[in-house]
């Protein structure tokens, strides 16, 4: 234990701290709290999350990552509200990853994924705000010689009601910091919230308007060199040889380095020189055993999984086999989804500096990451040093969508820097490298079957998922009984809404490929919602039911699912006449502890061009911290999800990704985006659901169901691409 954590061990952590579940029953001696994180001169730290300056500025520490989703502002709202701080004087500061590591994660988990940024930290950050408030009130009460209970706080001012005396937070902070941090604090009731639930403006917009927001790609340091990297295009293959002499004399080139077993980098004065020389570098790859794999061979493996005997059960009730045996009619359909790159607009990059000193080697990283905890550990491992000898400078992320959870980038950057002690090196993936080397959304197929009785009622539903496991790539130690429980995302007993179906079996045949896969915004809920919500529509059409009416029946025992569905349908005017040529499609799904539904209103041209006139989306996320940022996440989810559904796919040829850039990996642009996204935010209270990902699940099926309504064409394999173009 180093000094800081030893001190914390004595002072702060008298109660046990479980990673990710911070108990704020901290008992502090009546001395100044010192968490180990820095405090500006003249400012006072009040508990773990808040620093108050003499000029009344309140600095809220932020542990999670901001990648555009608005979490930074939302977290500050939570703290400021419980603290009764004046929103006009709120600032944020990104918590240092090493400080958190040294304090044994006193500030909780920093990983920002699974739509957890707010919902899993809301309790302890709100307590952090309430703690600071209690200390400020107590400081004021003591200075006035009155009981704390007679004092109140609002807008960063403490008031003693009886005498009308007031004191500003900035005046009180130094005194407050001398007090014991309270062991228990009461949180406000929802009715007392003043900031939570308000569409306050984001705190981080201004620098995004004039080019001053510093992303990883923009990091500048004295003596900085830049690296362009090439990894073996066939996953699992190796670097056999490269001819550095061919490029050494090119402009700006300083070094040509083997990075690890499968990659080589050119390091140059400028990235332009590095990538130009890398493109000219003769490289021989040892492509290995996967060089013959193609999308077709993968599809055949997955198709085999659709009927394989062996599959892991994720959700089961009733006697499905008996129901199918007794069925008057069986409906069946197979679906397929491709690999997908996240294609964050800022390509992967990180800057690393490795230094050697008598006290031991150190690594400093500048990286936009969704997971600075893992980046810290990764850099330490790659450099062969202790984690507390790593410093992470958390720079802004040009999009995340799950891609920046992964540790390949901090690892590669550290491995390059380690070979060049004392020189900061910025490693950037070209777009082509970024497109080829990702942790892709997994390729998946689904076989849906429904048993119907003589009246067309659904007596059983069977879903077989066959596809690649995210966990098997990202956290193989988390596999359970050799399979991936997250494959069932949204179809597990709790979130699965169609509880009126008497018997049910949802199972999974894991079929892993050599392609690395990962968390892609919405993760497995995307595929599962596409399979299920398309198939419910198929059942409706096969039985002559209205798709909305059928869903309402099957969701009769799922009031929250039903509520969002009804809200979206009503706002969209579902069932009422639409303008000539326009059609509705509907979908609902629950994931990340939120409930979502959408109605798409679309038009197909004679040549099969789709116009998405309007999306009406409803979400129940329990509590809505910032409705405008929830709107933004819903708008973004539809663009991201529909771009994928309509246009994007990564295919495999000769063991490698066949696409290289946005010309062959088309994404949604403004002209093809929904003309209008109408969001209904309907927090029903009592739980904290996610926001960044849940609505993406309904994007594809709502539009695909509308396409069916418009054309009679059922799209079962994504992306849609030119499947509608023969319509003319």
């Amino acid at each position: 234990m180093n000094q800081i954590s030893a001190r914390l061990g004595r002072r702060l952590f008298t109660t046990s701290l479980v990673a990710g579940a911070l108990t704020l029953g901290l008992r502090l001696p009546p001395a100044r709290a010192a968490s180990g994180a820095p405090v500006p001169a003249g400012a006072s730290e009040l508990g773990l999350w808040v620093i108050v300056q003499q000029d009344d500025t309140v600095i809220v520490r932020i542990a999670r990552s901001e990648m555009g989703q608005g979490t930074l502002t939302g977290l500050a709202q939570l703290v400021a509200d419980e603290m009764d701080a004046d929103w006009a004087h709120i600032r944020t500061e990104l918590l240092d990853t090493t400080d958190n590591y040294n304090a044994r994660h006193a500030w909780g988990d920093m990983a920002t994924n699974g739509s957890r940024g707010i919902r899993t930290s809301q309790d302890y950050v709100r307590r952090g705000g309430a703690t600071a408030r209690a200390m400020l009130i107590q400081a004021a009460a003591q200075s006035w010689g009155v009981p704390s209970e007679e004092c109140s706080a609002a807008n960063s001012v403490v008031t003693h009601g009886k005498t009308g005396r007031t004191s500003r937070y900035g005046e009180l902070a130094a005194e407050a910091a001398q007090l014991a941090v309270p062991t228990t604090v009461a949180l406000k009731t929802q009715a007392q919230w003043t900031l939570i639930g308000k569409p306050v403006k984001r705190l981080d917009t201004r620098p995004k308007l004039d080019g001053s927001h510093v992303f990883g790609l923009d990091v500048q340091l004295p003596g900085l060199l830049c690296a362009a990297i090439a990894q073996c295009p066939v996953f699992g293959g190796k670097l056999k040889s490269f001819d550095a002499t061919a490029v050494r004399a090119m402009p700006g080139v300083r070094h040509v380095l083997q990075v690890d077993e499968q990659s080589v980098a050119v390091v140059a004065d400028k990235f332009y020189f590095a990538k130009t020389a890398l493109a000219a570098l003769p490289i021989v790859w040892e492509e290995g055993e996967h060089a013959q794999v193609s999308s077709a061979t993968i599809a055949a493996e997955l198709a085999q999984g659709l009927s394989a005997k062996d599959a892991a059960i994720g959700n089961q009730k009733g006697d499905v086999d008996a129901a199918f045996a007794a069925a008057a009619r069986v409906i069946e359909a197979d679906y397929a989804t491709p690999f997908l790159n996240h294609a964050t607009l800022e390509p992967m990059n990180a800057t690393a500096l490795y230094t050697e000193a008598a006290a031991g080697a150190r690594v400093e990283l500048w990286i936009g990451t969704q997971n600075s905890d893992d980046a810290l550990l990764t850099a330490a491992t790659a450099a062969g040093i202790k984690p507390d000898a790593v410093k992470i400078n958390r720079v802004n992320l040009g999009g995340g969508f799950g891609r920046r959870n992964r540790i390949d980038v901090p690892r590669l950057a550290t491995l390059i820097a380690r070979q060049l002690p004392g020189i900061p090196v910025k490693m950037i993936f070209t777009r082509e490298e970024d497109m080829q080397h990702c942790y892709f959304r997994p390729v998946t197929q689904g076989r849906m079957r429904a048993a119907l009785d003589a009246d067309g009622r659904v007596t059983a539903l069977a879903a077989r998922i066959s596809g690649q496991s995210v966990l098997a790539t990202t956290r193989p130690q988390a596999l359970k009984n050799g399979t991936d429980p997250t494959a069932f995302e949204g179809l597990e007993a709790a979130p699965f809404g169609y509880k009126s179906i008497p018997s049910l079996r949802i199972d999974y045949a894991m079929r892993n490929t050599h392609v690395p896969v990962g968390t892609w915004r919405g993760v497995n809920a995307n595929q599962n919602a596409f399979f299920t919500e398309s198939f419910i529509d198929e059942i409706a059409h096969a039985t002559g039911r209205d798709p909305l009416a059928l869903r309402r029946d099957l969701l009769a025992d799922s009031p929250k699912h039903l509520a969002v569905l009804n809200a979206a349908a009503e706002r969209a005017g579902y069932g009422r006449p639409l303008p000539q040529g326009r059609f509705h499609g509907v979908a609902q799904f629950s994931s990340y502890d939120s409930f979502t539904a959408a109605v798409a209103e679309i038009e197909l041209s004679a040549t099969g061009e789709i116009t998405i006139h309007r999306i009406t989306a409803a979400i129940d996320c329990g509590y809505a911290v910032n409705p405008d940022q929830i709107n933004a996440q819903i708008e973004g989810s539809f663009v991201y999800g529909l771009g994928a559904a309509l246009f994007s796919e990564n295919t495999i040829e000769n063991g490698r990704i066949a696409q290289s850039n946005f010309h062959d990996y088309p994404v949604m642009r403004l002209a093809s985006a929904p003309k209008k996204v109408d969001s209904i935010i309907m927090p029903s209270g009592g739980f904290w659901g996610g926001v960044g990902e849940p609505t993406i699940a309904v994007a594809a099926p709502a539009v695909l169901n509308a396409i069916h309504a418009a054309s009679g064409k059922r799209i079962r394999s994504l992306p849609v691409k030119d499947q509608l173009s023969h319509q003319a």
Partner: protein, 149 residues
Amino acid sequence: MITLHVNGTAHQIDAPPETPLLWALREWVGLTGTKYGCGIAQCGACSVHIDGQVMRSCQLPIGDLGQVKITTIEGLSPDASHPVQRAWLAHEVPQCGYCQSGQIMAAVSLLASTPKPTDAQIDEAMTNICRCGTYGRIRAAIHAAAGEG
């Protein structure tokens, strides 16, 4: 040495003439508001103004530029006060913000040639990629900025 006129200042650039303007701006001039997204004129993250006209700088070799006046996001206004920047702020357009330099430069150019663009004209002019999906707000902010002008 190649001379580039960027945001009203002449810069002597010691880079090969085939260097794309994008990299000259980012790595020689030191203006990093102009972003790299694709390098092949697909995404628009690198959009700048060449004599007032929006262009994708990743496809412009500096040796071909001559005396043109280059404006980058940093040169649009001293204090983010350009009507388009103000509209972007009012509509809270940015999410991650990475594409927004390019989006703003494209919108300014559109409004210069078409002061009151229709939705169809916006569709046609605004072809830059935003992965965060801010297109709806971009459209609304352009209409708002047009109303102001």
